[in-house]
């Protein structure tokens, strides 16, 4: 049942200790900063977080990591010029890292939402990121078996939602939002605007409301 929630704090109450949490965004575009801040305030811990990166600067996901609330990161690009909190935890052996090529990360998330049990992909074949994984030669090409990434919760950001939970995004802020919305058991969306049902052109809906559980409007 779709819920419209007044505050980000109430919205993230669904995140329990030990949850796997997908967080949308690529760089700052599409990052649900307000929901992440609320998650930080909530105290939920022992989290597995799925995001393209592993936090930047002194905000959002970086602070969750700094506070020791993230047990494991599943991401493609943890090391950046300003990923100092992740770097410190990783070097101290206090955080687990599952490094996934970005396209495999996206497709594994998509597969979870689509009910796919796994897939063979050429990406990563013959590299250290395929070590220990099943491989096959398909159509003359080496391919690696990859499994879906499911989550308990997705925290994403969209531009607008209507009364049915249908979502539209804005430019490259779309990135992981639609696939994470589908992959999680419980999807929480922060939007800039809630419009009346019928106000979004059905032809232009990007994420159908069936994937959405909670919507919170942020300023």
């Amino acid at each position: 049942m779709l819920q419209f929630i007044d505050t980000v704090g109430e919205a993230v109450a669904a995140v329990k200790d030990g949850s796997t949490v997908m967080i949308g965004g690529f760089g700052n575009a599409g990052q649900p900063f307000e929901l992440i801040d609320a998650l930080l305030d909530s105290g939920a811990t022992d989290l597995t977080v799925v995001n393209n990166n592993a936090g930047q600067g002194d905000q959002g996901l970086a602070l969750l990591i700094k506070e020791g609330r993230v047990r494991k990161m599943i991401c493609s690009f943890p090391r950046q010029s300003d990923s100092w909190h992740f770097d410190a935890k990783f070097k101290a052996g206090e955080i687990e890292l599952e490094l996934v090529p970005q396209g495999n990360l996206a497709e594994r998330i998509r597969a979870a939402g689509a009910g796919i049990g796994g897939f063979f992909t050429p990406t990563g074949y013959g590299t250290m990121l395929a070590e220990g994984k099943e491989t096959r030669i398909i159509d003359g090409r080496g391919q690696v078996f990859e499994t879906p990434i499911h989550a308990d919760i997705a925290l994403i950001k969209a531009l607008k939602a209507d009364g049915k939970g249908n979502l539209v995004y804005r430019k490259t802020a779309r990135n992981f939002g639609p696939i994470m919305a589908a992959a999680a058991k419980h999807t929480i969306v922060q939007v800039s605007e809630i419009v009346p049902t019928g106000a979004l052109d059905p032809e232009n809906v990007v994420t159908p409301g069936i994937y959405v559980n909670s919507i919170v409007k942020v300023a």
Partner: protein
């Protein structure tokens, strides 16, 4: 030997201009972070190239300046960019399906090393304690029809980055088709590594720098070369 085309090594911008000239009109292209991004400065309107960025866009325009800067419109390097008429947006799984599905004509990447058989190493030095980060490098290397590498031929210590076998961890196997360096352009194919042109040195001088046998470019092989 008549393959030498320039009396001096090429600078980064000259090299970017050369890569840009070699991209066939109408191509769909992904330019990697760093030096490859310079190529966009030399693409002409007549070439009608469509740029892809893996964070979900086709039809990417130049870097945004001043009022154009929009936090929701960035490239894979997280730099604010602009959109051109006819641009489209899509989610991450679709963006990498565009890559993996073989729909991109060319991607241009940087490299630590390229092997004689086109293996690419550009994501991890493998140094103890180094935090690995792969991003979209493996997907790009595997997915595009042609993978062009831009790099200096030699490391700071004078070692060739074009090697018989990569010593750094691989990004992709047998994926690189061309290597553009400050000293020469190499075409990698089933017949070995051909030297298309050299900059500021002769073929023999170039051969002395690279640790496996090179083949001078022959016109009869030109038909087998993709993209030109």
């Amino acid at each position: 030997m008549s393959i030498q085309t320039s009396a001096t090594p090429l600078g980064r911008n000259d090299l970017a201009a050369l890569v840009a000239r070699d991209i066939a009109p109408g191509s769909f292209v992904n330019l990697g972070i760093g030096q490859p991004t310079l190529v966009s400065n030399y693409l002409t309107e007549e070439q009608n190239i469509t740029l892809h960025t893996e964070n979900g866009m086709l039809g990417m325009g130049p870097e945004a300046k001043g009022d154009e800067i929009d936090d929701d419109l960035i490239n894979a390097g997280k730099i604010p960019v602009t959109e051109l008429p006819g641009a489209s947006y899509f989610h991450h799984a679709d963006s990498f399906a565009i890559m993996r599905g073989g729909h991109l004509d060319i991607c241009v990447l940087g490299a630590f090393q390229v092997s004689a058989t086109g293996d690419l190493a550009n994501w991890h030095t493998g140094a103890p304690g180094a935090i690995p980060a792969v991003g979209g490098a493996m997907d790009l290397a595997t997915g595009a029809k042609d993978v062009f590498v831009m790099m200096t031929l030699l490391t700071r210590d004078g070692a060739s980055k074009l090697v018989e076998t990569c010593s750094y961890p691989l990004t992709g196997v047998g994926c690189v088709t061309r290597v553009y360096t400050d000293k020469a352009v190499f075409l990698i194919g089933p017949d070995g590594v051909q030297v298309r042109e050299t900059f500021g040195l002769t073929f023999e001088e170039l051969q002395a720098l690279v640790p496996f046998p090179l083949v001078p470019f022959e016109e009869k092989a030109a038909g087998a070369v993709v993209g030109v």
